[in-house]
Subunit: 179 residues, 2 copies
DNA sequence: GGAGTCATGTAAGTTGTTACATGATTCT
DNA sequence: AGAATCATGTAACAACTTACATGACTCC
């Protein structure tokens, strides 16, 4: 990809909330940022090892596995990474690509595509409702405010998808069945 | 990435609109789907060569370069690819990742991030206005309807970003300057 | 004649996914 | 006892980006 190593940022960020195991890093990201981010184990463990070697995190044996904690150098590294200008990945939206060539696919199949997308937005909205409740239950803090900002972004995005999908379904109904 | 080869779909789709050069494939995608898709030359030319070898496109020498046209087999392949279930790429939204750890970055830097994002949405909206006018100027067809659907998706998305960004900026104003 | 655009490709590098492999706890 | 979850890693692989290299044509 020849793109910036963004996993460092995600892992360091997760550990900035609290020390945890590699497994917990993944679960934490999944639960709270699932809408916007994902990490695989195949990426997390090597990253953790690299960060440990670089003195950015320390490993402490505990229970069945290990708990990783941010060092001062690690926190500095996190701040440095956060401050670097974002290099957004080139867009790749499979749904839009398919829909744009919808005349080859036909309205019926396109309807299915849009309905699936709509359904996943509904599901996302339900997940965000839970996430919002969880975050709001935390004791007030700066981090809470930032977390709510991302939840809100998810909500705005999901509602936009709903509105668009309903509009799109209405348009598709007007289209003839043959391509 | 170990993910599906989506470039075939994009290239075949572009050629389904009209025969064109590899260069024009990239420019076409850029202009009309730039919001949602991108292809690099390093990906387009090898793909074109592969599709030619597979009998999905034919190359005709013309002017300074070549013009590639879809064969019947190519059109069938395109329909096949379009019909396959979409395997959405894992989400990776750098802005949300950064914002979620905003307490480490501080409100001022976060403001910049959000403002940049807002500005790019404004720019996207302007681009979409042009795209909409261009598509609406075409003679009415199924393809036109589908193209308008994707333009509309862009508009809904961009407006959602604007609404969220304004909300987020108001929240950030309330936050203390220290992290 | 120089700049910009049109045009086609190759090579290197890396991020990140998927699949495999293994085992300890905990719950039912 | 078996299933699910917690936990840690490795290896193979590929999709894709970036940078490099080259050249024709057109416009000023």
């Amino acid at each position: 990809m020849a793109r910036e190593r963004q996993t460092d940022l995600a892992v360091l960020g997760a550990l900035s909330i609290a020390p945890m195991s590699g497994y917990a890093v993944r679960e934490g990201i999944r639960e709270v940022l699932g809408q916007f981010w994902s990490e695989s184990f195949g990426q997390i463990y090597p990253t953790l090892a690299r960060l440990e070697a670089g003195g950015h995190v320390v490993r402490r044996s505990e229970g069945r596995g290990s708990v990783f904690a941010l060092t001062e150098a690690g926190r500095a590294h996190l701040r440095d990474l956060l401050g670097r200008p974002e290099t957004p990945a080139p867009p790749r939206n499979g749904l839009m690509l398919r829909l744009f060539f919808g005349h080859e696919l036909g309205p019926t199949a396109c309807r299915v595509l849009v309905e699936e997308h709509r359904a996943s937005a509904v599901q996302a909205l339900a997940g965000l409702e839970v996430a919002r409740a969880e975050v709001e239950a935390e004791r007030p803090s700066d981090h809470q405010a930032y977390a709510l900002l991302t939840v809100s972004a998810g909500e705005h995005g999901a509602r936009a998808i709903l509105a668009w999908a309903d509009e799109a379904l209405a348009v598709l109904d007007q289209l003839p069945a043959s391509s």
